[in-house]
């Protein structure tokens, strides 16, 4: 090779030194090796923009204290949300039976709309604050009040009174804009992988605190439907098969406790309401370990029987709880 090149040179007296030859061919050879290496490393790779891997994801944890225990339900009324909560909770053994020292507690209110407490579209803020205080008194390491709102989250948490009341009671307040999410498999026939609010996934104990309301599609919305606020994403597609989705949410999220707020109840125009004419002051609270019973009790306040709610039939079939709430009743 070298000889042949040399013979074509105009000055045949000189020969190409080995070093000279090397300096001429090193740069192109290095480029070739580099390009070949890049080609071998990158050829046929999948590429960097990949769809999220949804195969090996976890299912939600079970937040119940004793999954084998049969459900119990206690109600209290007439003394304002704070006293009602304390009395009903005492009938089930007090908060100490559910929250132990050092545990992280997540509280999931219904905080969806830019509405004041009087309009009864969101859970009562005094009830939330009292629950926070009780959990902290029981030794909870941390209490987080968290929801994924429908209206603007800051506005909603402020207008509902929940942000101020919960913070004053010592809780952290987070929403979909400030909390992270974790992709979990909700493992239903309708519900697959969904992004779930991180404070809920990380909590040792989870307390659902829904408000009883009229709902244009579900008729009554209480406990299980409140889990729509635990997830973020294309929630607007859930309404295509709402009863099945509601029951599957109930199967995916098994809370430590359900505290049902019926201090003020929106009897029509739900779930947003607005007019005070739609609100009745019932001043009641129920505390239960059975979310099916919670839904049945709440619906009864709106005059809706369990058999009129298809999601309760599905939930009962899935073995999520007892529709006959009165049979679970513990006197407060």
């Amino acid at each position: 090779m070298a000889d042949r090149n040399v013979t074509t040179e105009p000055d045949p007296d000189r020969t190409l030194g080995r070093r000279e030859l090397l300096t001429k061919w090193v740069p192109p050879l290095a480029a070739g090796v580099l390009l070949g290496g890049a080609g071998l490393a990158l050829h046929g790779r999948e590429g960097r923009h990949r769809p999220p891997d949804t195969r090996a994801i976890a299912v939600p944890p079970d937040w119940r204290v004793d999954p084998s225990a049969s459900g119990r339900l206690a109600t209290a009324g007439g003394q304002g949300p704070e006293a009602n909560l304390r009395r009903a909770l005492a009938a089930l053994g007090g908060i100490e039976a559910f929250v132990r020292a050092g545990e992280r507690v997540a509280i999931k209110p219904n905080c969806g709309w830019d509405r004041a407490p009087e309009q009864a579209a969101n859970t009562n803020p005094e009830l939330i604050a009292e629950l926070v205080r009780l959990c902290l008194a029981a030794g909870a390491a941390k209490v987080t009040v968290v929801d994924s709102t429908c209206h603007d989250p800051e506005r909603t948490f402020n207008r509902s009174g929940i942000a101020a009341a919960a913070r004053a009671a010592g809780a952290d307040v987070l929403h979909q804009g400030t909390a992270g999410t974790v992709l979990l498999d909700l493992d239903g026939s309708e519900l697959g992988p969904w992004e779930v609010l991180q404070p809920i996934v990380e909590a040792d104990r989870l307390i659902n605190v829904p408000i009883v309301k009229h709902h244009s599609l579900a008729r009554a919305t209480v406990a299980m439907k409140n889990w729509i606020g635990a997830v973020v994403g294309r929630r607007n597609s859930m309404h295509q098969r709402l009863p099945q989705v509601t029951a599957e949410l109930g199967a995916a999220f098994r809370p430590t406790l359900t505290v049902v707020d019926a201090t003020r109840v929106m009897v029509d125009g739900g779930p947003t309401g607005g007019s005070l004419d739609l609100v009745r002051a019932l001043d009641q609270v129920a505390v239960t370990t059975d979310q099916v019973a919670a839904d049945a009790w709440g619906a009864s306040l709106l005059g809706v029987a369990p058999r009129e709610l298809p999601h309760l039939q599905i939930a009962a079939r899935l073995g999520l709880g007892n529709v006959d709430w009165s049979s679970l009743r513990v006197e407060a």
Binding site: P10, H49, G192, M238
Partner: protein, 509 residues
């Protein structure tokens, strides 16, 4: 090889013949380009063979490597071209590039006169603009926004054929075709003013090859003793690389015209003579100008993303070909060559202007009034050189016996325009055409009385979204003129879980 002596017959003949070999190579590659395009468009050539010249383009490999961290299919061929360029110089520009050949042809036939060519073929510092063009496009690519195809000569020419020239007799004209052809016409006209103006001053591929050519040991060498400085070599010079002065190897197209042009046999193409100093003149791109381009481009990139619809908001009428990757991966790979546009037998795929945002300029979208997506056809994915559109199983989008694995959108009925719904006039064309089984369009039978008292039985079309594949045959055949009464929109496309319509288990997968 025989031992040619300077000034001897053999060497001289060889030098003259190199030009003939080059013209032959240029002709063959231009012919191959046209033949492959014709084969692709007429469905004669299958698979990646139909788009092999696009894979031979080094920017295809470099662009997807930067934007998507992969080198797809046959694009590794481009890396081989780059490696060879590091030895031979920009042979691609002088011997292969069909756009270069076309410019060469135009400037030979209608370019400056022989005397004016000495001036026209002088090197200008602003020829370094192409390195900034390359910098801008590579910076974008590294940020995941691949737009090399806008100016890369092979996709540019291919797109002009696919979207501009072929629609003259097949499938109807499209705006992007006029833009692409306008660009092509401007490039060719400019080459009549200055030979290979585009290659010299603007071409990002030429710039990339120029960078590798700086390493080349084989290049034009001048014998200073015999050179008289007559400037004859400048007359046919394609690259404006100053064979007479300090030879700029990064600009040289290796056309070898200067060898034959020299009256004194002072020029040769080969290795440096022993002891001869090898100097490679610096590029006329200052470090500051380079850094400024990178920073400015990086700053603009996000603006490019959010403008129009692009990724931020999905556009209802940006319906991507079947098998297209999710939008971010799709945009990172698509080189806007128009291979899918030319390959689509019903002619539904167009090169886009306006539907998919600034970032989606010249990317493929389907327009159902032009054509439809044939259920068993997977041609756009087969010919796509970068895998922006994957090759589907022919069964994947047919929806025979149940919902399809791959859908590109969903049909929506406009009851205010539909004949049986709005005008008491019988029509069942969309239902008749619907190719899925069971049909995604079913007929609701009603009896009604018209204003004139006549009783009429109507069959009103209704849609089952879970069965619809978005193929658009209904929209294509709807008798309601300009705007059909049934129209496909991109919602429900399986490539983008966030653009899903229905609540389904594992909707994200």
């Amino acid at each position: 090889m025989a031992q040619p002596k300077p000034g001897g017959g053999g060497w001289k003949r060889w030098r003259v013949r190199t030009r003939h070999w080059r013209v032959l190579s240029q002709s063959l590659f231009l012919l191959a380009f046209v033949a492959l395009f014709w084969g692709l468009a007429s469905t004669l050539f299958h698979g990646k063979l139909a788009s092999i010249l696009l894979a031979l383009d080094p920017l295809t490999a470099v662009g997807t490597a930067l934007a998507e961290w992969t080198i797809p299919h046959w694009a590794w061929l481009g890396l081989a071209v780059l490696a060879l360029t590091a030895v031979l110089g920009r042979f691609f520009c002088g011997w292969l590039c069909p756009l270069g050949t076309l410019q060469h042809l135009v400037s030979s036939l209608g370019g400056p006169s022989r005397r004016a060519r000495v001036e026209a073929n002088r090197y200008r510092p602003w020829f370094a603009l192409k390195y900034l063009v390359l910098t801008v496009l590579l910076t974008w690519a590294a940020l995941g926004s691949e737009h090399l195809g806008w100016l890369d000569p092979i996709p540019l020419l291919h797109r002009a054929f696919a979207a501009g020239i072929r629609p003259l007799w097949h499938g109807g004209l499209m705006p992007a075709g006029w833009v692409s052809c306008g660009l092509l016409a401007a490039i060719l006209l400019l080459s009549a003013w200055m030979p290979r103006f585009y290659c010299r001053a603007l071409c990002p591929l030429g710039a990339l090859l120029g960078l590798f050519a700086r390493l080349a040991p084989l290049r034009i060498r001048r014998d200073d003793d015999s050179c008289t400085g007559c400037k004859l070599c400048l007359m046919p010079c394609q690259g404006a690389d100053e064979p007479l002065g300090e030879h700029r190897v990064s600009e040289c197209h290796v056309c070898l015209n200067c060898l034959a042009g020299c009256g004194e046999d002072s020029l040769r193409y080969g290795l440096a003579a022993p002891g001869q100093a090898v100097t490679t003149p610096a590029l006329d791109v200052g470090r500051r100008r380079f850094l400024l381009s990178v920073v400015a481009t990086a700053a603009i990139a996000p603006v490019l993303r959010v403008s129009g619809s692009g990724l931020a908001a999905r556009s209802y009428d940006a319906i991507r070909p079947p098998g297209a990757l999710a939008e971010d991966a799709f945009l990172a790979r698509c080189i806007t060559c128009g291979a899918c546009v030319a390959s689509c037998p019903p002619g539904a795929i167009v090169s886009d202007i306006g539907r998919s945002g600034v970032e989606g300029l010249f990317t493929p979208v389907l327009v159902m009034r032009r054509g439809w997506c044939e259920p068993s056809c997977t041609r756009c994915g087969e010919v796509c050189p970068t895998g922006a559109i994957t090759t589907l199983d022919p069964k994947a989008k047919q929806a025979i016996g149940g919902p399809a694995e791959v859908t590109i959108g969903t049909a929506f009925l406009d009851r205010g325009r539909c004949l049986p719904w709005a005008m008491d006039t019988p029509c069942i064309v969309c239902e008749e055409m619907c190719p899925t089984s069971p049909k995604a369009i079913w007929l609701d039978r009603v009896e009604t009385t018209r204003k004139d008292g006549a009783k009429v039985v109507l069959q009103r079309p209704c849609i089952r979204p879970e069965l619809c594949t978005g193929c658009g045959l209904c929209e294509n055949r709807c008798p309601v003129g300009e705007q059909a009464a049934i129209r496909v929109s991109s919602v429900g496309e399986t490539r983008d879980p966030a653009n899903a319509l229905l609540q389904r288990r594992n909707a994200r997968v």
